[in-house]
């Protein structure tokens, strides 16, 4: 695993209205690693992810993807960069009006000047990688959630991207299917030598797939490290998140005083 940096975020700040979602986020991701971004709900994970893929522009700060400053690119240049990345969505985001095969082959049909027979072969290969060969003619509505996730993944890797982003890949899936997805992420990383950026808060996933982990809190990076370093972290908030305990520095319930006051008003 080389130390070449494929993604760099420098001091990203993003506000939605009067809510500051990203508050000086800085990260570096190396080529070929599986980088997990975790944090509580509302800490800015999904917003950060969308900055990395060029879907959102920050109010201040820079994002470098594969060496290019995303804010300086025009639409065509941004498209060229997007063709080198793939994204697996939380809701799998398959196109309901197309079959599985058409979904997976869409990026190829639009961006690559390949013969139909060649595209068919590539689709079969990608479906085989996710363990769903033979499903080409089904419609997404005929599939289970786990299968849709895997097809979404097949589509994300259809163009052999250098980086694949995963937004909550195991959300809502049963433990066995979640394990299958985790293994897939690791397999793809090894077989295709791609960099994986995974946003999740499934702790089991995090520790089984990650090369490095970043924990986010209130729009900033709390800590970055290998799984071992995170497990042994001295930071109480990190420990609370890892162990999943409701009590700790990260507050879920408001202070007791507030509650009494508001009840009595």
């Amino acid at each position: 695993m080389s130390k070449e940096i494929v993604i760099r975020a420098e001091n990203l700040v993003k506000r939605f209205g009067d809510r500051t979602v990203l508050n000086g986020m800085s990260l570096e991701i190396h080529k070929g690693e599986t980088f997990v971004i975790m944090g509580g709900s509302g800490c800015g994970k999904s917003t950060f992810l969308r900055h990395l893929i060029g879907a959102l522009k920050p109010d201040s700060g820079k994002v470098f993807l594969l060496g290019k400053d995303l804010c300086l690119l025009n639409e065509d240049e941004l498209d060229a960069v997007k063709k080198k990345i793939g994204m697996s969505f939380q809701s799998s985001a398959l196109f309901d009006s197309m079959t599985v095969g058409e979904n997976v082959s869409l990026p190829l049909r639009e961006h690559a000047k390949l013969d139909k027979s060649v595209i068919d072969i590539v689709v079969k290969m990608k479906l085989e990688l996710v363990g769903l060969r033979g499903f080409e003619d089904l419609m997404p509505s005929q599939l289970s959630g786990g299968m849709r996730k895997r097809i979404g993944l097949a589509r994300a890797i259809a163009m052999d991207p250098e980086i694949v982003f995963y937004d909550e890949p195991t959300a809502g899936l049963d433990p066995i299917v979640a394990g299958v997805i985790d293994k897939l992420i690791l397999d793809l990383s090894k077989k295709l030598a791609i960099t994986s950026v995974v946003v999740t808060h499934d702790m089991k996933s995090v520790f089984s797939i990650a090369d490095r982990i970043a924990m986010l809190y209130e729009g900033r990076v709390l800590e970055v490290g290998t799984p071992d370093q995170i497990r042994k972290s001295h930071n109480q908030m990190v420990q609370q998140f890892v162990s999943g305990s409701p009590d700790g520095p990260i507050k879920f319930f408001q202070q007791k005083d507030d509650y009494l006051e508001q009840l009595m008003k």
Partner: protein, 264 residues
């Protein structure tokens, strides 16, 4: 102060939405005109399937509305004209009234309710299930992919439906004239077209083109702007139909005035 604030914010919101709608319109035109040169035009397959949905699918309801509108105009005109023994004038009244006004407007309203709502619901559902975002992540422009085929389909199909509505409406009037009022069928048909000018027909078609553009733009815009899950889709769809209706009537008034005052 509150009342003025409300009016003010309403104007600002309407202004902003109109600007965004126009931006979408110009983007759509850009992809239609410039797309072929960049080798990035829309697949004809998707245009044709949209045309089938918008046009062929609306045939029955549009014909139904046209037929009964023709019948009703004929009966209402007969009510007055029979006093003057001038029943035969029902024929041109139905024909010209339909061609200039009723066929384009009623067909557009029917299509807005059927096709406009469907477009908004489909695009809205795609938006809330992250499918639009998926397209953008794959470097596929959603306007080129989703809006252009629907725009072209409505642009082509609405005038076709309007012509059909003209003819079926005239037939409706024919039924009343011949079978209720016992007018001579041959005379009815020739009298229908005797007072019709080409101007009557093409003004109606220009209106239907404008309405087609309106329905497509409003439908796509409200669909792509949907937020908030299933409830959001429902809200967008309602907004789409209501806005289309209002704009159709508004543009009808503007165009009618325009054609009237350029009559010399």
């Amino acid at each position: 102060m509150n009342f003025i604030e409300t009016i003010g914010s309403l104007i600002i919101t309407t202004g902003r939405q109109t600007r965004n709608l126009l931006a979408l319109f110009f983007d759509t035109i850009y992809w239609i005109v410039a797309g072929p040169f960049k080798n990035k035009f829309v697949k004809s397959g998707s245009i044709f399937s949209q045309m089938v949905f918008a046009g062929a699918g609306s045939l029955i309801i549009a014909s139904f509305v046209a037929l009964f509108t023709g019948i009703v105009i004929a009966m209402q005109s007969a009510y007055q004209l029979s006093r003057f023994g001038a029943n035969i004038y029902i024929a041109p009244m139905v024909a010209v009234g339909l061609a200039r006004e009723l066929a384009p407007v009623l067909t557009a309203l029917v299509v807005a309710g059927r096709v406009g709502a469907a477009i908004t619901a489909e695009l809205g559902t795609m938006k809330v299930t992250e499918q639009i975002e998926a397209l953008e992540t794959m470097a596929l422009n959603p306007i080129r992919f989703l809006v252009v085929p629907r725009f072209l389909a409505l642009l082509i199909m609405l005038p076709c439906l309007t012509i059909l509505a003209d003819l079926i409406g005239i037939f409706g009037g024919f039924l009343v004239g011949v079978f209720m009022l016992h007018l001579d069928p041959y005379r009815y048909v020739t009298f229908s077209f005797k007072f019709m000018l080409w101007k009557d027909v093409w003004t109606g078609l220009v209106k239907s083109v404008v309405f087609g553009i309106t329905i497509a733009m409003v439908g796509c815009y409200t669909g792509l702007k949907t937020k908030g899950g299933a409830e959001g889709v429902g809200k967008s769809t309602t907004l789409s139909v209501v806005t289309s209706f209002i704009l159709i009537i508004l543009f009808d008034c503007l165009l009618t005035g325009l054609f009237y005052f350029t009559q010399k």
